[in-house]
Symmetry: C2
Subunit: 206 residues, 2 copies
Amino acid sequence: MRKISDATITRLSRYYRSLARLERKNQEMVSSKELAQTGGATSVQVRKDLSCFGQFGTRGLGYPVCQLKETIAHILGLHRTWNVALVGAGSLGAALISYKEFKRQGFHIVAVFDKDPAKVGKNKRGLIILDIKNLPEVSRELKIDMAIVAVPKTEAQSVVNLLVQAGFKVILNFAPVNLMAPPQVTIRNVNMAIELEALSYRLMAN
Amino acid sequence: MRKISDATITRLSRYYRSLARLERKNQEMVSSKELAQTGGATSVQVRKDLSCFGQFGTRGLGYPVCQLKETIAHILGLHRTWNVALVGAGSLGAALISYKEFKRQGFHIVAVFDKDPAKVGKNKRGLIILDIKNLPEVSRELKIDMAIVAVPKTEAQSVVNLLVQAGFKVILNFAPVNLMAPPQVTIRNVNMAIELEALSYRLMAN
């Protein structure tokens, strides 16, 4: 299978949500044009994205809503649940534990770690904060699949090193810093300032 | 000027950070290849992105680090500060107030609003929570440029309606829901579950 871009995967997530909405409205078929409108792309892009994964639609009839939704769920791993470790029990960590959309899509934060002895043992939104030293064993015991890094930027690389050593293959990083990891490890960065920069660009351009 | 894609703007933010790093190391010139490596793109992509905004490099010599960084700062509006309103004083709101990278890039959260009477008047990380009813006047008085929506998904559309009425042109939305706004208003959505889905996809594909 050819290499699928991150942008395609992000659009699949959007199509999935559009399909879920259409399914709730009992709509049976959807055109690439309609999916494009709700997913923020062009109909050519929708057809190209979906063709990466097989032949789903029928010319003139479109795509079957329910079936395409299930197919995308299997591609993205939304048909099952995932155990997630959160590193960093600060205010961003607290917000992530409370973020309901994670659980709704099957992502369960099952453990939260911090290195601050003053925090370890305390309850954070229903989870006991664990010592980061215990991350490797706890991750094995709880069969944790992925990790979220929500620590200050100065701490992020050492946390990533620990996660890599513990065998994590995928990491979502919120620290605004460039991180190094071996090629077999995927780090996805969320930088909220970059999101605002896309908006200040709009204000500058107008 | 032709339409610049959101993806190009996001990459400009990445190039900006790479250039800032190189500047701190006193590097004077940078090739598109080097910018591509640190910015996570190809050198063809870098040249294409930058060519949208003018002619910056010299064949064989590359781009002048300091000058290109300043040019991108002006394109993205990073050479000045922006006043930001935050709507929603929950745990995500608290995390956003504490997120240092915003201020570092010139985005100052100057007011936080909530509709919950139990929260209004309380101090949240140094800001007094204001009644959402006062958003239009406060936004005018404080010359607020952009808004962040960090409310539950059921509240998000009514908050966006209020922001649009108050004259906001750009909105960063964290609620995991599709929002409607007039075409002259740009809404940028951050859905943290979609970020995790890109990672579960990797685990499924391996």
